[in-house]
Amino acid sequence: MINETIPPEPLLKVTDLHKHFGVQRGPMGGHKSAVRALDGVSFELAAGETLGLVGESGCGKSTLVRTLLRLGSPTAGSARLEGQDIYSASGPTLKHLRRRMQVVFQDPYQAFNPRFTVAQSISEAWQIHPEVLPPSQRPDRVTELLTQVGLRPEHANRFPHEFSGGQRQRIGIARALALEPALIVCDEPVSALDVSVQAQVVNLLTKLQRERGLAFLFVAHDLAVVRHISRRVAVMYLGKIVEIGPVAEIFSAAAHPYTQALLSAVPVANPVGRENRSRIVLRGDPPSPVSPPSGCRFRTRCWMAQEICSVEEPELKHRTGNGLLTACHFAAAQANHVKAHKKDLDA
């Protein structure tokens, strides 16, 4: 039902995931309401695939990451990794699941224990999951992992503060690889890095994926990086996926007005023609997730909004005759508009 092009047994299958945080209002704590950080998120991720996840701050990206890693439990919904339900698992099953999904954090400065050497940081996981590797092979494996991520074997005995941001991110990737995961969740892995170093880490991730068949859930706000690394892209707005599909179609034929606005907002790294570039500038900020607008959540900032948008919430489904799933009543009209515009440009 989600996307026919994906093989029947996806690596990760997320179904109608909800995560609400309670907010107390009023001096006596009465009148409880909830921040609906995730409000029905469904998607699939195939083995060896990269799904880019984009959206503005507050859209629920980080909550999704935390909930998937089971750093918090969902309010409703389910997620299955390799056929195992993440939230009902316990004991050895849960331990195995945790091993199969690893994470690379945004801030390489806070992700390491400053008193651990690199070797200790990487090996720590094997103490918890000793079945992965017998102790005698661990030092050699550390060397091997460091080489794979482009560091030198002698780096194993150094401490995190001796490394630059890019090098630390490489150590973070080596640590994530230590447990031979099937899925690595990358939460803004390159946004803290300088441009010249960012490209090194992006290339490293691509190489590792090719060699090991890893799947990535790649969360980022930089759309150019997402376009570069992803096979499919999901766009989130206020706790929901508003559009999802193959990367080429998201970037050339987006049918959701929010995706279009997001793409048109990115500054283009080429000054030629900037005077004539038209840009969709959205008014205002995203509304509060405590009381999202009725119907379509994007309608308060949308230039296409009609009456139906405030009454009926648009479903995420195929609307434009290509691989995209779009949650907009006027997706087809938008797609035609984009097509016509492209023709004008070609002519």
Binding site: S57, D194, S196, A224, V281
Partner: protein
Amino acid sequence: MRVTTEPDQPVLSIQDLRVSFHSSSGRIHALNGVSFDLKHNEVLALLGESGSGKSVTAAAVMGLIDQPPGSIDSGRILLNGRDLLRIAPGERRQLCGEEVALIFQDALAALNPVFPVGWQIAEVFRVHGRLSRSDAQREAVRLLSAVGIPAAEQRAKEFPHQFSGGMRQRVMIAMAMALKPRIVIADEPTTALDVTVQAQIIETLKALRVETAASFILITHDLGVVAEMADRVVVMYGGRVVEVADVYTLFSDPQHPYTRGLLAAQPRLDSEGSELVPIPGSPPSPAALPSGCAFRPRCPLAQEVCAASVPPLARTANTSLSACHFPGTPT
């Protein structure tokens, strides 16, 4: 008191500026001879990665370098022909406050949390003795609405924490524009913002530039922001200027190998993902700069001469300025 300058005279001229800081691990050379001019009504981008010295340059112009631990070792900063480094502190404050304004990256840290934003903008007029209390408040409201804050009269009474990140940045811009400065220094003004909000702020800054005829120094690491806004670009690396070019030339015909590397390393939104070409290694620490050209250890063109001498900033065939012994050589 305002001094008028000829349009072709630089509004601000920085000459051979050297700044260092004392630290427990030795002397950190943050700026090693930085020179550039800011022309009338232009947007000049200072482009560089962390540690390149772009923010220290701004701090030096604004007189925000604490001495010690900082020390301005040499150089001149000429504003209207007067050297800011050699005038009395009181005079400098008066001059800088009226003629030069600064927009910080982190608006939440730059605003006072315990006063309403309107009061904070009006404070500018009170300090500079321009307007009465009520006129100052009225002017603050006008400025807020000029930078695109809806219901400005109401919002002027609210506190910084009640504003979103983009709105706070607008407050910062309103405050910077209050005294109609001739120079606005914007230090990473959109870095902490979401792209849609970044687009709003860029549009606001562009509009202000047309309306006010001010000159802007835009400090950023983002090639996209540079391409959208800048007229000329100063590329910094290791506390030195490595390339100066007008924005079109910089993107079409970069001369310095670092600039070339930066453009090749940038993932593009307008093209499919072929393999990125990263620059090997990482930016040097200002505490341990390599001898000669600071880019040498990462440079594909490096030869012996690069370790021996610092290449001077010299005119290239395409009229850019480049600090490289082999400018324009394909890498």
